[in-house]
């Protein structure tokens, strides 16, 4: 093949429509003839441009068609399976699971055991009791009872032998004598 390749033959080569022996001859000529090779590259570029243009036209629906399609989708009644599947969408499922966890926290936990139920400080009971006792002139603690309760509660020292003796009725005649 010494003559130049015509456009029809180049297009058939490009579309791989030539018989194998002709395809081999065209390939051999393109490797030796810069003019035909340039012509081939033009055909390749033109073919790519046409493919791209065709693809763009496939995706761009006419606006009226698109609107009609969306209307059909909106009016379509989802199947029961699709409705169940919708529960598992994150935007729906996450708040649902959070609500379930909170409900379990409030109702499944034994009454009064979780942290949000108000509690009454045990020291209040001791202080309110001491406040009532203060009306007795023989009560020596007076208004400091609350502070004494608080301080006694924070005393982490080991129990005293004296206290053990006293609790068994074995204390010295005066507790002060024993303390000294």
């Amino acid at each position: 093949m010494t003559e130049h390749l015509n456009t029809a033959l180049l297009i058939d080569y490009l579309r791989r429509e030539l018989p194998p022996e002709d395809d081999a001859l065209v390939l051999a000529h393109l490797e030796k003839c810069p003019s035909c090779r340039r012509e081939y590259e033009i055909e390749v570029s033109l073919s790519d441009a046409l493919k791209t243009a065709a693809a763009r036209e496939e995706f761009e629906f006419p606006s009226l068609v698109a609107a009609r399609v969306w209307e059909e989708i909106r009016n379509a009644r989802p199947s029961p399976l699709a409705q169940i599947a919708a529960f598992f969408r994150p935007s729906f499922a996450v708040p649902l699971v959070a609500a379930a966890v909170l409900a379990a926290f409030f109702f499944a936990t034994p009454f009064g055991q979780h942290g949000l139920t108000p509690k009454i400080n045990a020291a209040y009971y001791l202080e309110a009791h001491a406040a009532q006792q203060a009306q007795n002139p023989l009560d020596e603690r007076g208004p400091a009872a609350a502070q004494l309760i608080e301080i006694a509660a924070q005393d982490t020292s080991a129990p005293t032998e004296l206290a053990d003796d006293v609790s068994q009725g074995l204390a010295a005649p005066s507790a002060f004598d024993a303390v000294r």
Binding site: F111, K119, I120, Y125, A130, E140, Q154, S157, T160, A163
Partner: protein, 346 residues
């Protein structure tokens, strides 16, 4: 300690005893009762400066308090704490029913009001109950803080148990030493003056309630005057409370108060035999006790898992039943409190 089931017969008997005691006191109080009355009234007429030491015993430890006292009759007192360590250098000024606690470590002064501190009617009621339930027997005294004393032993009329012993200044009748005993005879607490000087010449500045420079003023507890109108208090509580049917002999319902604690409507019923007081707290809101730094122990009775803590001879017992939460506080043995708790049945 034997307990008496509340019944019409018991109430009638108690009323007769009370009536008899009131009758005898109107005629001529015996010398022991007279001395007791004088001892209880002494702080309103006697001014002094002294040092008071107290030891309170629980079943496992002893807590000691040493306080320097300036008392200007009738109602001004300054207490300066030397012990325990946690209160060292703090002081409390009491003027009538108001208390000003100066916390020198936190540089703050806490102001509290407790109307019973200056309630003479309540004090008289207290004396009347003591004379109803206790026999005051005079015994030889000792020398306390350099002063001669007369001793007074208070014995429960129902049980024969010695519950308290007092040593009163022979001249001023001020109580210079006091011992309290549990039902098993063990010492519950002891208080006595180590140093005492009678004087009216106490500078008024010592009772100043002005906050020192740099101190912050904070509100303390504001206690309401307890009411003897129990029906009104129960109505104010907003729920049907339960009362114990089994109390130590001599104890009677003395007063009540319905208050809101941490958003929880709480009923506080007070029972007393004059010398000792029992408090029963109830709420129907499901609010359990928060023991915080206290270290509660568990005890079981009649299917309940109760918790208790001891503050010296005072025991706090808490439990729940049928949606009601109970807290019982008293200077009684734990076993005695449990017996009372068993009788609180919703």
């Amino acid at each position: 300690m034997p307990f008496a089931k509340s019944s019409f017969g018991f109430i009638l008997t108690a009323a007769l005893i009370a009536g008899a005691a009131r009758g005898s006191s109107n005629a001529a109080e015996d010398k022991g009762s007279q001395l007791l009355r004088q001892g209880m009234e002494a702080p309103r007429t006697v001014s002094y400066v002294g040092q008071l030491e107290t030891v309170r015993f629980s079943s496992a430890r002893a807590n000691a308090t040493i306080v320097r006292i300036w008392h200007l009759a009738p109602t001004m007192t300054r207490r300066w704490y030397l012990a325990p360590e946690g209160l060292y250098n703090d002081y409390i000024i009491t003027r009538g029913s108001s208390s000003y606690q100066f916390d020198t470590k936190r540089s703050q002064v806490q102001i509290s009001h407790n109307p019973v501190l200056d309630d003479q009617v309540a004090a008289e009621d207290s004396l009347s109950r003591i004379l109803t339930n206790y026999r005051a027997t005079i015994a030889p005294g000792d020398i306390i803080a350099g002063r001669p004393t007369t001793s007074l032993i208070l014995v429960n009329k129902f049980t024969g148990e010695r519950v308290m012993r007092l040593w009163l200044d022979t001249k001023t009748h001020l109580v210079l030493r006091k011992e309290e005993y549990h039902g098993n005879g063990a010492v519950a607490s002891e208080t006595r003056f180590e140093d005492l000087r009678y004087t009216n010449a106490i500078p008024r500045e010592l009772f100043s309630t002005d906050a020192p420079s740099g101190f912050v003023q904070v509100a303390g507890r504001d206690y309401a005057m307890p009411s003897a109108d129990i029906e009104r208090v129960i109505h104010a509580a907003g729920f049907a409370p339960v009362e114990p049917t089994n109390l130590p002999q001599g104890f009677k319902l003395a007063s009540g108060d319905a208050t809101t604690v941490n958003g929880v409507r709480t009923l506080h019923l007070t029972y007393s035999d004059g010398l000792r007081t029992l408090s029963l707290f109830e709420n129907a809101t499901g609010a359990a006790a928060d023991f915080g730094v206290l270290r509660p122990l568990t005890i079981q009775f009649e299917g309940h898992d109760a918790q208790y803590v001891e503050d010296g001879p005072t025991t706090l017992l808490t439990w729940k039943e049928h949606g009601l939460y109970f807290a019982l506080v008293g200077d009684l043995l734990r076993s005695e409190l449990v017996e009372i708790a068993k009788s609180v049945v919703p």
